[in-house]
């Protein structure tokens, strides 16, 4: 597994899309948190995190998504997850986080629902 650690931000109308490339793990979770909090501070309220190019999320990565989702909801916003592969969906199901998040098949479906 190639350990590419990177996030990129783009805009789709009023929606901020964050793409996670490689892994979301204990070693880079703070980078994602900081990025989303800065966008929230700037007034952005609707977010899609796109995992289409993500190979692995560890428990710290799951935790940071929970924390961000809570902060975004407190500000009246919404966070949608998209593009999780089968392994990643399993992690959300095991931890019951699939009940906490809106999870869509891909970015297009996420944007359609917002």
């Amino acid at each position: 597994m190639e350990a590419i650690l990177g996030f990129s931000v783009s805009r789709e109308g009023d929606v901020t899309v964050i793409e996670v490339e490689g892994q979301l793990i204990v070693g880079n979770r703070q980078e994602l948190k900081q990025m989303v909090l800065e966008e929230l501070e700037r007034g952005e309220r609707t977010f899609v995190v796109d995992f289409d190019r993500t190979e692995y999320i560890d428990s710290s990565g799951l935790g940071v998504l929970v924390s961000l989702s809570k902060k975004i909801r407190e500000q009246g916003g919404e966070l949608v997850l998209a593009g999780l592969n089968e392994d990643l969906r399993t992690l959300f199901e095991l931890t019951k986080l699939d009940t906490l998040f809106t999870i869509t098949n891909d970015r297009a479906q996420a944007l359609q629902g917002l």
């Binding site: 597994m1 350990a3 892994q23 793990i25 204990v26 070693g27 692995y56 560890d58 428990s59 710290s60 799951l62 935790g63 940071v64 929970v66 924390s67 809570k70 392994d87 399993t90 992690l91 095991l94 931890t95 019951k96 986080l97 009940t99 906490l100």
Partner: protein, 149 residues
Amino acid sequence: MSRPRPLPENVVLEIPSDLGAIQRAVDLVLSRCETSAMESRRLRLNLRVGLSEALANAMLYGNRRDPRKRVRVEVTYHAEAIVACVTDEGDGFDPQGVPDPTMPETIERECGRGLFLMRQLLDEVVYNDLGNSVTLVLRSRSEGEEARQ
């Protein structure tokens, strides 16, 4: 006369308490275990989660990110199972004291899912009495069985 079973193979690593070293160590172990008979999804998901979480716990909570302290990883693998032992230099902890992170009162917490995932995805998760060493067992399954069961 039955054919002799192949001898188990093993990997031993000693790594610094550096979070950036976790995935490199896990990747190394997974690549070595590819020669075992373990199903690819159980390597890619179950073993990856078990080792990654055990290493993160060892560095964060065991060694408290002290760069002078190291984590030892010993992995033995053969046809039927992979056994991984992860040991830190910390004072240990009580694994029974970690609450279920899927309950309504805990599900929105940022931390506390690592040990739960290890228990869900491995066949055995056993701590020593001190609580600074965990042994993970992942058994091979017959074809067609659910990867996470």
